[in-house]
Structures are given as C-alpha cells and as structure tokens.
Symmetry: C2
Subunit: 184 residues, 2 copies
C-alpha cells in the first residue's frame, strides 16, 4: 500500500490522487485501510516518512562509499537517481519536490515534515562535502552547509525538469555545473 | 480572466483548479468563457503564453539594463522575482514550474509549450552571460548556454523551495551559490 502510494504521489501528486485509486491498484478494501490509517492525510505523512528514509539510505550508500573520493560519491548519487528516474521513463519525480509544489492544496502538516526531510538530506550532503574539503577536492573557503543547501534547492528543479523533458539531460547539466562550480 | 487564471495556476496548479472557481472569482459566466476559449485546456495554453511574455519582459527589463554590469543584472532579476513572490507571501510560484511538476495530470499540449518557454528564458540569460564574458566578469572558458540552462534548471527548484518554506532565503542561497560559481 505504501509502495503504491509513493508511486502515485511521485507521478501525480497528492491532491489529484484519490485514495480509492491507490487502494484499487493494490486491491485493498477501504475498511482495511482505515484499520491502519486514520485518514488520507495520515497516510500521506507515513508516505513522506517512508520516502525520507528510503532516500536517506540511497544517499548513504553513495556518500559513505569509501571506494570513491567524496565528490565522485555525490556524482554517483546523481547518476543513480537519474537512472532510477529513467526506469520509470521520467514520469516519476521526487516525492518531496512534488508535494512541495502542491503547498497550496496539501495539508499543512506536510510542510514541516518536507522541510525536515530536505534538511536531513542536506546535512548528509554537507558531511560528504566536508570530507571533500578535508581531502582538498574543494576549496577550504567553501561553506559546505551553504553549498549543500544550494545543491538541494537546485536539485528539485533538476528532477522537475527531467520529468518535464522526459530525459536525463537536465540532471546531467545540473550535475556538471554543480561539480564544476565547486571543484578546485 | 487571464490574470485570475494565472493567480490560481501559480498557487494551486492546473489539475486541482476548477474552471468554475476561476470564473466565479472574476464573476464571468460560463457562457462568456466559451465565447473566448474552446476548453479549459485552450485557456491553459493562453495562460502559459501570457505568462511566458510577461516573464520575458521582466527578464529583459533587467538583462538589458545598461546601468548595471551584466552579472549584477542577473542578480537584480533574482532579487525582483523574490520580491514579487514575497508580495504574495510566497504562496505563488512560477507558472511554468508548477505546470511542469504536474506533467502526469496536465494536457500533453502544455509540455512542448513549457519547454519552449524555458528555452526562451534560457537564451535571454545566455545572452546576458555572454555579455558578462565580454566584459570579463566571468571566465572565457565558461559555456554560457550550458550555464544558462543550468541556471533555469535550478531556478525552478529555488522557487519551489521558497514556496515550501514561505521565505525568500532559498532564492538568496541559490543566487549566491550561482554567482559565486561563475564569478571570476
């Protein structure tokens, strides 16, 4: 049910996805749904939390990979995320970015959760950048927390554009420009 | 009617905005609407075209401002766009970014139009960057078309994030990082 929910939300968004639609796709009766969740909103909160953890693991599997220099780990994360999008023909975006775009029509409870999620991903990226700084891949003058913040701000734009163009090219352009901008 | 349409679409998006809602807000009867537009989709196309022109003018008013060096013109555009968002308490985003995010649920006819619009804005930005290159504000080695592409890819992320955080801070962070990354 959670997997189906994530699929619908990354593709269509929250407001335009009906609960019935999700439940039908996994053949779960509505009664069973309310056994687990109080409402569509509570289900949404669970989906965000779930996605946050899934994505943090994807980040860590790259950022903590000691076989690569730190900057190359960030590049590898971007490549993996792009390939994941390609697998769904760039129809699915980032759950967090999608919901962020829906601010006016989604429950307010989602807002803080989305911001926290982005901050969590950001801090993981900052840690990897600090490592790159230690290994002198990037200048000692760079503020890694700010660079990581900027990375995530722009990243959601790259995912959005990849979805619009149904192509990985926007992610490649963003990745190249991001890495060029900080590389020594 | 077009103004009301843009307001709804930048705030709520296309799929979740009902035609009735827009028409009621400007007290236009449905009959009159169909006198001007064939469908909600045709109206949407008109809104995108309208927004594309409005925004191109906003870009040009900054990019062609000969009182500032080229890079400062780009900075001024970002500042103006941020202030425009602040005027609506960061509830409204970019029409093009919003619709881009809705890919799965909006008419396919919008897609090409959105891509063309972004390319138009991109080429205006590239022209300003080439001027910056001529005036030696940025390195002669930079590929201005690629930098402009990257700028717009990330920019939509910055607008999205400003909307999510209801704050101009993400735009400031993005602007700083973008300009630092290319400044000589």
């Amino acid at each position: 049910m959670v997997r189906a929910g994530v699929a619908f939300l990354t593709e269509k968004g929250f407001a335009t996805t009906g609960l019935d639609e999700i439940l039908q796709s996994v053949k779960v009766p509505k009664g069973s749904f309310y056994h687990y969740f109080e409402s569509k909103e509570a289900f949404g909160v669970e989906l965000i939390k779930n996605y946050a953890v899934y994505f943090a693991e994807l980040l860590d599997s790259n950022y903590l990979n000691e076989n690569l220099p730190p900057l190359e780990r960030i590049a590898a994360f971007m490549e993996e995320a792009k390939n994941n999008m390609a697998r769904y023909e760039f129809r699915r975006g980032c759950l967090v970015g999608n919901l962020g775009q829906e601010m006016a029509v989604i429950p307010d409870a989602f807002r803080q959760l989305l911001i926290e999620t982005l901050h969590d991903w950001q801090s993981r990226t900052a840690a990897c950048l600090k490592l790159a700084q230690k290994e002198k891949q990037i200048s000692a003058e760079l503020d890694c927390d700010m660079v990581a913040a900027s990375f995530w701000i722009g990243w959601e734009g790259a995912v959005l554009r990849a979805k619009l163009e149904r192509s990985g090219a926007p992610i490649d352009i963003y990745a190249t420009h991001f890495l060029n901008g900080i590389h020594k």
